[in-house]
Symmetry: C2
Subunit: 224 residues, 2 copies
């Protein structure tokens, strides 16, 4: 498996090179932490971009590991992607960067772009594993606490696999970069850090059990 | 101006209809609150999806109002979108929905999809206004506190306009929907609410001023 990113022209970062990361471990860690992806698929006259739940399997069957996206089999835009090149983009906003000019306002963020040929997963074992990974990506350890998926549920679920090989990652994590002529200590500049937090879990009206360990751990992890 | 959403087939929600919203005011409010968008552009063999800062002007020159995206003039994927149909998707995750089966795990979210013909803005007044709106979208009221953009800065900035007319919005904001056979009060199910918060602003080392009102208000707004 390759351990650096951007092996091809279409995922080589040409703009903002100093923010490009070439460490595959950093990509994997970011993809594990992020909650959703935006999947872009060509649907004829234009691209369609929709938010999707996802999971990654760095030991998956594809070159560089596999990114899995699941949806309903009735979602034709998703299943129509089979054999086509798609783009999966994952972004987390980390801060609002306020400079002394509008031009130098910016955001701190982490963003990964994966481009690859999508494959609708048909192997029953790989499908079941991808669904467990998607649940565990949302709440680590959760799939082991649940009953197995039924045949009917698996039949109603489409799983798309995208190779992780062609990927790039960009990170901006710094303060404003003002023009020297604009720097004036009397004018404020800086960063508003932004993060995602979890609140106390809300138990369903039809449940009387205590909040289980996997849910508690997920809340604590997101509250860090 | 139209006041309902989804006027065409390609933005009519066909899956998950009960989560579709058709209120244009709700779309505008959501687009005002969200921090970033994902812009999908066809770049030949595949779509490219990248995160972008954006702003909306509901009284903008396009049908239904205008969504503005700005970037560097050197970002060819952005300027190449002129005259082509693009997809702009904005998503905020509001919760992790833990059901009693993997199949019914889900997320709470708000998501807007705008499809339209992109236009590179050339009119100097519209360009300057779009840049101010983008800064104010990030930190309301901020552009009025800054010096005007220089001619050089404006020349280095590309602004893309997309009409807001063709848009759809979906919202999931509920607890898990379990199969009746799975419901057991002894098994926990519920939602982990997720939200974005701001931390204390970090002042740049080259600034000695107190944190100004616009920054304070932004932090308070995001802390709510």
């Amino acid at each position: 498996m390759t351990t650096t990113l951007s092996p091809t022209a279409r995922t080589t970062i040409v703009r903002g090179k100093k923010r490009a990361r070439d460490d595959r471990d950093e990509l994997h860690q970011f993809l594990e932490e992020a909650l959703i992806a935006h999947l872009g698929v060509d649907v004829g006259e234009h691209p369609l971009v929709l938010p999707v739940a996802f999971a990654t399997d760095v030991t998956g069957p594809d070159d560089g590991g596999t990114l899995y996206i699941h949806g309903s089999v009735a979602a034709r835009w998703l299943t129509s992607a089979h054999g086509r090149t798609v783009c999966v983009t994952v972004t987390e906003v980390d801060g609002l960067v306020a400079a002394r000019s509008g031009f130098h306002h910016s955001m701190n963020y982490r963003s990964a772009v994966v481009i690859g040929e999508a494959r609708v997963v048909t192997d029953p074992e790989e499908r079941a594993r991808a669904l467990d990974l998607t649940v565990d990506h949302m709440i680590p350890g959760r799939s082991a606490t649940l009953r197995a998926s039924t045949r009917r549920e698996l039949a109603a679920t489409a799983v798309l696999a995208v190779p992780l090989r062609e990927a790039s990652m960009k990170v901006r994590a710094e303060g404003p970069v003002d023009d020297p002529a604009d720097v004036d200590p009397a004018v404020w500049a800086g960063v508003i850090p932004i993060r995602r937090v979890a609140e106390e879990p809300r138990t369903s009206p039809d449940a009387a059990a205590a909040v289980p360990g996997d849910i508690r751990r997920r809340v604590q992890h997101l509250a860090r």
